[in-house]
Amino acid sequence: MHNISIAGLGCHIPGGKVTNDDILATVADANRTSLEADALDLLLYGCRRKFDFLGISTRSAPLAGSDDSFVSMAVRAARKALAARTDDCRDPVDCIIACGISNPFREPSAACIIARELGISPADHFDINDTCNGFLKAIELASLYIASGTCRTILVVTAENPPELANGLGMNLTVESVDEMDYRLSSCIIGSGAAAMLLCSDTGKHRIVRYRNRKETTHWDSSLIRIPGTSMPETKYGKPIDGFWADGRGTAAELISANPAFVAESLTQWNLTPSDISFVVLHQLGANITFAILDKLGIPHTKAPVNTFSECGNMGSVNIPANLALAQDRGLLHDGDRILLINSACGFTHAAALIEW
């Protein structure tokens, strides 16, 4: 990782809200004919209590009748980042890197469409996919491009709009048993949003100075989105599956045990201790995971005051940059702060980055 600076940051959270009751109504409709009444009752009670347990009340979603989509939200976030551009970074954008798990585009790239919508013609634009870690991986790439002189100013953009993808896949929440719902719960807690970050060479302020990730493939099927008709190796779910599936129990256990160890190791490599960290921004998977990671690291919860999960749900690759942008908007970031970004993604990926504000 070569030091780079954040020259602009912005996010867009759509104004629509999907409540727990909305989700429960969908689950009930999907299973009314397939489950016995007692089983359906237990299914709905279990879902409601798990929402309580995770601390989620709503999920961000496009407002009915709005034009919020993967592209339009990405463009809005990008415009905010460009409008916030600092005076020490005035070179034109010469590269756009787009990411997002729910990126609906295979051809052309989302980055190409976003550039056109922004009315700019960067020399380079492309998409990457590193699932929930897409944004941090794009920052790492941007750092290499800027350090090599390939680019001077790079706009990293991400958006998530799960309903767009789910509708396209014809997804539903029908389950064969109450227990199976644990594998579908992840699709009941996802939200929409977008974020963007303008990056340039080190200006001495708002510097991204460290990035590490650890990847393994043992849990490759911990979270899946399978497009109907595509081939996939046999999974842990024991039957052919379509749409969104995730092993919530296995994921929580793995993250709570392995993610803090990875972050602690990163801090040690960076010659830092948890007490050196001023502010923490975490991936948003639920209060249970957030608090467990902080507790294991010995970092007070007060150092991670911005957590959008309860209102927005899990916004995938948008979580980290959106929560950072909200922290900035709320005046919570101060010169000299050491900001630790803690991320995870299916596969698994563990990632951490350090910003000196």
Binding site: R49, F53, A252, N288
Partner: protein
């Protein structure tokens, strides 16, 4: 329900050996019980005994003994008396 009966129910519900559990056994560190599995266990407890457990306390739940104390507190604050052991599966 006394503590020993509660431990038996925990073992039955979570598929654990009785010998694996002491007062200080940690759900996460010793038994590998993740938070969502714990939530499932609590949901079944609530349904079976018609009680409501404050999920905010679950974050601090470390040991089986603490789980029993939380269960007793939930029973005490509900309108029904502390449940007696039955032979139904949770």
């Amino acid at each position: 329900m006394d503590y020993e009966q509660f431990v038996t129910m925990v073992c039955d519900s979570l598929g654990l050996e009785r010998s694996a559990i002491t007062d200080q056994t940690s759900f996460l560190n010793d038994l590998g019980i993740d938070s969502l599995t714990m939530a499932n266990f609590i949901i079944r407890l609530e349904r079976r005994y018609d009680i409501r457990i404050n999920l905010a306390n679950v974050w601090d739940l470390r040991t089986v003994r603490e789980a029993y104390e939380m269960f007793c507190a939930a029973c005490a604050s509900s309108s029904s008396p502390l449940p007696q052991e039955d032979n139904n599966n949770a």
